[in-house]
């Protein structure tokens, strides 16, 4: 059976394709070095138009007359007050541009001006090098280092020094732990239920925050802060999985990049990247369940527990609550063997 995969890797080669939703301008060149937060491409998305009805404004009787009166061309830039159309003759009448903008269309005696647009930018998300430029759309970025993929993020990006406040995977992140020494750091906390912690992070400010889990009621605050937040496990009170905890513990005080988009259907997950001066192997984005794989359990009664898949059980297994599902035996420790539905397992690719 096909398994969902999460990467928790001490060293890997990270390759990410970043593209704009519409065509725009690519700002990087091939082989260029980039930081995670560097903007690599941008586009302008029109957001406001003004429709100028020349025929009506000049009180002309036909569309043809209006078309002849228009003195601008499609694509031309105009500034507020510029003449758009005019009649000839002794009592000349004019239509002027109501705002700065660009003529996007002339048809039927009407002129459409694009007067406002919104920039759309994409960032590298990975510290590394541009290995390929995709014309008018974006680029492929490749980097090397440790990688931890999270379960949820607030769609921000930043770099900073990793400061690990955790002494155990199940610690709570409280406001008492937040002090000025954390300013500019990417802080690793545990489980968080206090919105004030997130607000204090904004005030300090932090460069980023990695939590094992947080209360779902904190989502609006997490989305409002300007720094990236990554949850390794998700929502509720869930301790950090041992694989991520071990990797973070051994990389304390290193410079890291935190990129926290959450668009799983498009393949974009929040990621903590710890750049390393070594070359790793790329890791697969999918796997099929098989014995001896390292797996993480999502959901009760063993949330975030990491174990080893012992065997896939044949047919359907009846769970203690009566639900029937394809399941596997997972060894959590020497003495603990549990049965878990396959749907609640994900393969941890780790080193």
């Amino acid at each position: 059976m096909l398994a969902q995969v999460t990467h928790i890797l001490g060293l890997t080669s990270i390759r990410r394709v970043r593209t704009l939703p519409v065509s725009g301008r690519v700002l990087v060149a091939s082989r260029q070095k980039v930081n995670a937060s560097d903007v690599i491409a941008e586009a302008q998305i029109p957001s406001q138009h003004v429709l100028v009805d020349v025929r009506r404004a000049l009180r002309l009787s036909s569309v043809e007359q209006a078309q002849r009166a228009i003195v601008r061309n499609e694509g031309e830039r105009v500034f507020e007050g510029d003449v758009i159309a005019e009649t000839g003759g002794l009592f000349q009448r004019m239509v002027r541009a109501p705002a700065d903008g660009q003529v996007v269309m002339i048809a039927g005696g009407r002129v459409i001006l694009e007067v406002q647009s919104q920039p759309v930018q994409i960032v590298a998300g990975v510290p590394g090098y541009v290995t390929e430029v995709i014309q008018e759309r974006g680029a492929v970025i490749e980097g090397q280092g440790a990688l931890i993929q999270g379960a949820w993020g607030n769609d921000r990006v930043a770099e900073g020094m990793l400061v690990n406040l955790l002494n155990a995977p199940d610690e709570e992140m409280t406001r008492q732990k937040m002090d000025v020494s954390l300013r500019g750091a990417v802080v690793v906390g545990g489980m968080c239920t206090d919105a004030e912690v997130l607000r204090m992070g904004e005030e300090l400010p932090l460069r980023g925050l990695i939590l094992s889990s947080m209360s779902a009621s904190l989502v609006p605050v997490a989305r409002s802060v300007s720094y990236p937040i990554l949850l390794t496990e998700g929502f509720g009170r869930i301790p950090m999985n041992e694989a991520a905890y071990a990797l973070i513990s051994t990389n304390d005080k290193r410079d890291v990049a935190l990129y926290t988009p959450f668009r799983p259907l498009a393949g974009e997950r929040p990621e903590l990247i710890i750049p390393l001066p070594a070359v790793g192997e790329p890791a697969a984005d999918f796997a099929y369940f098989k014995p001896d794989q390292k797996v993480r359990i999502s959901g009760a009664p063993y949330p975030s527990h990491v174990g080893v898949l012992v065997r896939l059980l044949p047919g359907l297994t009846v769970l203690p609550n009566g639900v029937r599902a394809q399941a596997a035996e997972v060894r959590l420790s020497k003495d603990t063997l549990v049965v878990v539905p396959l749907a609640n397992l994900e393969v941890i690719q780790s080193v």
Partner: protein, 578 residues
Amino acid sequence: MSSVIDAESFLAIDIGSTTTRALLFDVVDGAYHFLAAGSAPSTWAAPFHDVGEGVHLALTRLQEITSRPIMDEGSRLILPTRPDGSGVDRLALTLSAGNDVRMVVIGLLEEVSLASARRLATTTYGKIVESLGLNDHRRQDAQLDALLQASADFFILAGGTEKGATRSVSKLVELVLLALKTMRPESRPRILYCGNQALTKKLKEVLSRYTEVFAAPNIRPTFDQEDLAPAADALAKMTVSLRGQQFGGLSALGQLTAGPVLPTAIATLRLVRFLSELYDPAKGVLGVEVGSHATYLAGAIGGRERLKVFRPLGNGLGMQGVLERISPADVARWVPMEVSVQEVEDYLWQKSLYPATIPATTTTLAIEQGLVREILRYAAQAFQEDYPDCAMTFEPIFAGGAALAQAGSPVQSLLMLLDGLQPTGVSTLFLDPYGLMPALGAIAAANQLLPVQILESGAFQNLGAVICPVSNAKPGTVILKARLVYEDGNEVKMEIRQGSLVPLPIRHGQTARLYLEAMRGTEIDPRRKTAGGFKIVGGLCGAVIDARGRPLSLPAEPNRRRELLLRWTQALETRRPV
């Protein structure tokens, strides 16, 4: 009508948002049977962006279960069946996978063509992102911006009755034309025109220079008449065509099918319509599915079709829609153990991160089933608001979707349906554990015998007959006198009190005749005469009289509420005849 003389084996594939299913049907002992189902995770999204791998894995699983080769050495489907028995004769394909289809509805009057266009939009897997009518008071450039910023996949353009004026529609078309011209070619939406037919030819000629234009008969041919069915078929075709562009593997698979590829909900509607014609059309048939990403209700009654797809609204990928429409507190009130609203909220959010997760404890199962109840309640209410002629009185009701069909016990499924849909009158509830509804709907066009024989074969689980009287009497008052007469002449008499949930002593498969005497103005069934008694067949839960009232209300006090929920479950679980 086809017969088993020209029997063909059928493979039906349903590509869902989370799961891809492959179902095999063939003739055994002179009648069609459902042989087996294989399923696998769907692969339309990252990292595959191609439905092929999910289909291949589902077929591999089906081959393992049946020991019948369906694919050749090159993993290609064997079509038709070979002399050695490998392969299948025909393929049917349905799908609900994909991102939400973004739709703009454009019409004339808010309560007329715009309302119909809105209802039409909800027959497919998407959401309305903008709407524009004649009484829209925004400036024309603001309307233009709204159309441009909608990033729509489809514009649904309606308006004007047949032989009515065309000027107002033309004005809207002009705006659409401006929008199309202003958009980048790759961003232009497909257009479905379903308004005054006098304009169809001209409109197609003008708009098709810029985008693909589909035309369908007027959804509002007269002021009082609405006809969504042909336009819904066109919208289904557009949806499938869009999916073909959005992810790989679908177009190639679509070329192998016996009939057109259908959206899952439309396929179910076809089955429901077919059954409605087969049974008593006046009673109506309902199909309901709570899926990972979407929920739908498909009804057919008296020759009328009623379909409403809610998307995103499901117990997995559709969690975002749940969180926008349903409060965690409403879900929590259905949980018969002590859980805080915060715990429920956390669970729902966590499920949005891991949509395929199965509840593995009693508590998480109860939360999930509370969620299904609330999704059904929301959907049934909205369905009845859109279609006031469709009270929740259908006979029978078919229910599918993993959360409903794979509950811990049949009683849990029955209670979710009763508490969520809150049907009225006399009905029989069937569970669809294998996702057969859309498959049979898709096959029905090519082979009408197969769905009938599959329905008779017991592939659907009969949960039981349910009788849901409606009464304004005070709780505890006797509202019905019931007499159950078995085939051997023995009988049981009961008094049914308002507020109670009463299992009838009838075994699975046993038939009996039920005589009901309504008291104190109680209405037993608004669509059927019950005075002379009627036959009931016991299902997995026997038969049940649900006299808890409509709408069903729960005590506000948590302990009393939990006690009541447990009592209802125990009433059916412990007294369920075997």
